[in-house]
């Protein structure tokens, strides 16, 4: 037989285990309480009996058997809760409140025992009362028995035992109920997560776990799962998009390449001399295709690795200075003012090659899109957060607000830049490099519109403070 689902859940099994442990602990505790209370009642009774016995023995020693007899008669008549019996050395009764000794071996005194005495209650029914008593042989040979009715104490102990049983039952019932409640709660949360996982497994990448806002570990797990699914979905969309885009971007140069080769072939066949030029063009086209391919692969590899390899600690200004030196003549040739503002003695951890490629891509873009007469500024600084920021600001046409998130995507090229050479992968690669260093890429407006210039673009590559 299969148990209902709830009883198979881990929380329920844990509940049972803890309940068993708790019940064992509670039993030990209850046993201790029982021993302490019941034992205490017996000891107190015995003490009282002993005291009574001492006082009677003292009277006997002082004034003889008649004085004890007298005293017993008086005491039995009073409201004292004791039972008395004074016997001759052979065990026959002299006086007392009971007919005969409840102790078996009358002459074997001193001894003590639990026994019961019979009595009649208010309705005249015969009842048995539990009692305890001692007997002692007095110095003259007579035997004295003193006992006490312990029915009240016993009743008290019985009450305690009953209360303990009740408490035990309550503990188990409440524990079980609480366990069921907790397991139901937990298994409901787990079930919801399982449903999400099942949905994703079946191809529904839009499925998300509910975050209830309770800030517990289920919320954390749900948030983690959702974040993971978000990333997965983005990455899959990215791959799908990249696939389409590669096909799109490679199709036109490949088509051109084929046409050129075909023309060249026909020309050569016809004995015309244009083949060399066509082949040269074909080579250039091939190089373009390979460059696009290389960039796509670099991005894919960085994203797959998650973390850029071979990271070292270095001064970010050194790298920026190298690139400034590399790009400065190009800027000057194009009639651009180039300036570098490098904060020294910072430290950053990263792969120099990838970061150099990223900065080169940003500088390439700035040079490409800034018209002559404009300016480019390369800057390294420490943010107040401790992060290191490389930024490149130009006075080109900039990127409209609504397009800034989009231009980082693969192969996205804004309409007015399609005529420029390039794969449309430059910024995507920079973003991938930033991410592989635990950093990010931020695009904002440049210095603003000045005459024909601007508003410009400011691209910041932000790297985390080295640990």
């Amino acid at each position: 037989m299969r148990l209902p689902r709830l009883f198979r859940t881990t929380p329920f099994r844990l509940t049972l285990l803890f309940l068993a442990l708790f019940a064992a602990a509670a039993s030990a505790f209850l046993a201790y309480i029982y021993l302490a209370t019941a034992g205490e009642a017996t000891r107190r009774t015995d003490q009282n009996i002993t005291r009574e016995m001492r006082s009677l023995v003292a009277a006997y020693d002082r004034a003889g058997v008649d004085a004890v007899n007298q005293s017993l008669i008086e005491r039995a008549a009073s409201e004292r809760p004791f039972l008395y019996l004074l016997m001759k050395p052979d065990g026959t009764r002299i006086s007392g409140s009971i007919a005969e000794s409840p102790l078996e071996d009358v002459r074997g005194a001193p001894s003590r025992a639990s026994f019961s005495v019979t009595d009649y209650d208010a309705q005249g029914r015969l009842v048995k009362h539990p009692a305890r008593g001692f007997q002692e042989r007095l110095s003259g040979g007579e035997i004295l028995f003193v006992g006490a009715d312990v029915s009240e104490d016993q009743a008290y102990v019985v009450k305690i035992v009953r209360a303990l049983w009740g408490a035990g039952a309550l503990v188990i019932v409440l524990g079980l109920a609480g366990g069921l409640l907790v397991s139901r709660n937990v298994s409901r949360s787990m079930g919801a997560l399982n449903d999400v996982v099942a949905a994703v497994r079946n191809g529904d990448f839009g499925a998300r776990a509910t975050v209830r806002g309770t800030r517990d570990e289920f919320d954390e797990l749900s948030e983690g799962v959702n974040e993971m699914l978000d990333r997965l979905e983005r990455s899959m969309a990215g791959h799908r998009h990249a696939g389409d885009a590669i096909a799109h971007d490679l199709r036109s140069p490949l088509t051109r390449l084929r046409a050129r080769l075909e023309t060249a072939y026909l020309d050569v066949e016809a004995g015309k001399g244009n083949a060399e030029e066509a082949l040269g063009q074909a080579l250039d086209d091939t190089d373009g295709v390979l460059k696009t391919f290389g960039a796509v692969l670099s991005i894919a590899r960085l994203q797959a690795a998650g973390q850029a390899p071979d990271q070292v600690l270095f001064d970010p200004a050194d790298l920026a200075a190298d690139l400034a030196e590399l790009y400065e003549p190009t800027c000057e040739d194009k009639g651009l003012e180039f300036d570098a503002e490098l904060t020294r003695d910072l430290q950053v951890r990263g792969n120099r090659e990838f970061l150099a490629q990223a900065l080169a891509n940003l500088l390439d873009n700035a040079v490409k899109y800034t018209p002559a007469g404009g300016a480019i500024m390369l800057r390294v600084r420490r943010r107040s957060s401790g992060e290191v920021e490389y930024s490149i600001t130009d006075t080109g046409p900039g990127v409209p607000d609504e397009d800034r998130a989009r231009v980082v995507e693969r192969f996205v090229r804004l309409e007015n830049s399609r005529s420029e050479p390039g794969s449309g992968l430059g910024l995507s690669l920079v973003a991938a490099v930033a991410e592989a260093h635990g950093g990010r890429l931020e695009l904002s407006e440049g210095p603003g519109k000045v005459g024909e210039m601007g508003p410009g673009l400011r691209v910041a590559l932000i790297l985390p403070r080295p640990a």
């Binding site: 690795a305 590399l326 150099a356 080169a360």
Partner: protein, 223 residues
């Protein structure tokens, strides 16, 4: 030069062989690492071109083996677009240069010729001479026809590299790698601009231009 080509892609090896033979070199081919190892032990070569991924024995193992045996022949590793740190691994294994497939043939020839030259200039030089051009490596001074030419530090390094490889084509990628020591791919003509500045300093005012542009390849310094 005698060149050993160790490449399992027979068609690619054939194309390489043809191109290098046309450029005046003598080529020997081996289809995998084990044959390559045997060929390298049997003969003397000026340069070896070794593919990284091959059946029977891969290129890295082959080069590690010949290096252990004391063979210092310059090695150019070829690799398909692979892992990020392929280059570092290849150089660690004993390679002298690294080229990622697919490559332009001009790049391959330029790198192969640069490797062979590297071995010839083993001794420490203090003076470089190419035609009318003289470079004093100690005094950091350059003269052409006895006239001093004032160069920026980077221009000096650039010219030094060109002079050490005089008569050979050097590609833009090689210059970026060997002079700036970066391995990336600029989309703008940054290297061309540096070369044209250098050219204006060493060729301007002289009757014969020394720094040539090689179409489809890069640059060459002629005596």
């Amino acid at each position: 030069m005698r060149i050993l080509i160790v490449e399992d892609d027979l068609e690619a090896a054939e194309v390489m062989d043809r191109g290098l033979t046309e450029a005046g070199h003598e080529c020997v081919r081996a289809p995998d690492g084990e044959d390559g190892l045997a060929a390298s032990r049997a003969g003397e070569y000026d340069v070896m071109i070794v593919d990284r991924m091959m059946p029977r024995m891969d290129g890295v193992t082959m080069i590690q083996t010949i290096r252990r045996e004391g063979d210092q022949t310059p090695v150019l590793f070829l690799s398909a677009l692979g892992e990020i740190n392929d280059r570092v691994e290849g150089l660690k294994a004993g390679g002298d240069d690294y080229l990622v497939k697919p490559y332009a043939f001009a790049e391959l020839i330029a790198r192969v010729e640069a490797l062979s030259r590297r071995r010839e200039t083993g001794s420490v030089q203090t003076m470089l001479r190419v035609g009318e051009l003289e470079m004093d490596l100690i005094g950091r001074a350059v003269h052409r026809q006895g006239k001093e030419i004032d160069l920026q530090p980077r221009e000096f390094q650039l010219l030094e590299f060109m002079m050490r490889h005089a008569g050979q084509s050097v590609t833009r990628t090689m210059l970026l790698e060997k002079v700036w020591e970066y391995h990336f791919d600029p989309q703008t003509n940054v290297i061309d601009v540096h070369i044209s500045r250098l050219r204006s300093k060493i060729d301007k005012g002289f009757d014969k231009p020394m720094l040539q542009t090689v179409r489809g390849a890069g640059y060459r310094l002629d005596p």
